[in-house]
């Protein structure tokens, strides 16, 4: 099992224990950009977690649960994402916990995982697909130094594509 560490978090593959943290997020409108929403039920939330876990089995890599060392809480999911129909390998992130917003957790985790996809997985490049109304994710992509790629194919025509470059 691949486990990555940052100063404040342990990043490990999703597990059943993450459900209590994912559930309230997936069933809220904060999840509207990533397939959840206030109109979704608990079964839908469970399926999201199962899919995150199953991606590891199908691809050999997948998103990590961001487990905060201090609290043991799972703050979100982050990492490589490449389901069928995706034009390119994506570096994705989702912050589940509102408490974790604005404290640099996502930046800290994405920075670590981006190094992982370039150095360990050997990806030549990575993109992040972001809904144009998802201002928080856009801000994070820009803080990470990713740049808009207007020509890149995208799963949904409305998505923005931010491209990450391997550090020189």
């Amino acid at each position: 099992m691949t486990v990555l560490e940052t100063e404040r978090m342990v990043l490990r593959p999703p597990q059943a224990e993450d459900f209590e943290f994912l559930r309230p997020f997936a069933m809220s409108d904060r999840a509207r950009f990533v397939g959840g929403g206030a109109d979704k039920d608990e079964g839908h939330a469970w399926r999201i977690l199962a899919i995150l876990a199953g991606h590891w089995s199908l691809r050999g890599y997948g998103v990590f649960a961001m487990v905060e060392r201090e609290s043991g809480a799972t703050l979100g999911s982050i990492g490589p994402w490449f389901p069928a129909g995706w034009p390119e390998q994506e570096l994705s992130w989702t912050v589940w916990s509102t408490d974790a917003e604005g404290k640099g957790f996502a930046f800290e985790a994405v920075s670590r995982v981006r190094t992982h996809v370039f150095d360990d997985l050997g990806w030549p490049t990575a993109v992040s697909y972001i809904d144009p109304e998802n201002a928080r994710s856009i801000a994070l992509a820009e803080r990470l130094g990713a740049v808009l790629d207007a020509d890149a194919p995208r799963p949904d025509e409305a998505d923005l594509v931010y491209r990450h470059r391997r550090a020189a």
Binding site: M1, P13, P14, Q15, A16, F19, D41, E42, G43, H44, A45, W46, R47, L49, A50, I51, L52, A53, G54, H55, W56, S57, L58, R59, G60, G62, P83, A84, G85, W86, P155
Partner: protein
């Protein structure tokens, strides 16, 4: 890889039920693109079929049990998925099946596989009862449930938002 090394393999006279794997994705996409998938959430586009396959594997990781890939002895090709299913907030543990390969119909393969899964549910997983949720009009699955000795249970809790029968299987004592 996520810890799926613990998935057992079941063997029957003619069949091997093995862990599902990435090599099964194409067959899953083909099945879910077809009308045969209409009782199990299809037909679905490629991305959705991949997501379904991912969910099947994720169920193993989350629950420690799940659906196996049905194969014939001596041929690794996936022909369907059979096993144990309890996603999310489903009310009860289910013996679930989906025969993808139509050429296997009418030869007792599904019966043989479902029986092995039920035995495993009682003997290894320790289930005391099991149901099968079957869509209305899925006559073949209804026939299989009856052949397995299951009966329609009108009092069983249903899956919200879905129209389906609940077939209850004879329990471990009744089968002992």
């Amino acid at each position: 890889m996520i810890a799926l090394t613990g998935i057992p393999t079941l063997e029957t006279e003619r069949l091997v039920l093995r862990p599902p794997a990435s090599r099964d994705v194409d067959a899953c996409i083909t099945f879910y693109a077809s009308e045969r998938a209409r009782f199990v959430g299809g037909p679905s586009a490629e991305h959705d079929a991949w997501v379904i396959m991912s969910r099947i594997l994720g169920h193993w990781a989350m629950r420690g049990f799940g659906l196996w890939a049905l194969t014939l002895k001596g041929d690794d090709t996936i022909r369907g998925v059979f096993g144990h299913w309890k996603p999310g907030t489903r009310p009860e543990n289910e013996i679930g099946w989906s025969l993808w390969d139509p050429t296997l119909e009418g030869k007792g393969y599904a019966h043989e596989a479902a029986l092995a899964c039920r035995t495993h549910a009682y003997d290894v997983l320790g289930w005391k009862t099991a149901v099968s949720y079957i869509a209305y009009e899925n006559d073949r699955s209804v026939a299989l449930a009856k052949r397995l000795g299951a009966w329609e249970d009108p009092d069983a809790p249903r899956i919200e938002g879905k129209e389906h029968y609940v077939f209850r299987h004879p329990g471990p004592e009744a089968l002992a």
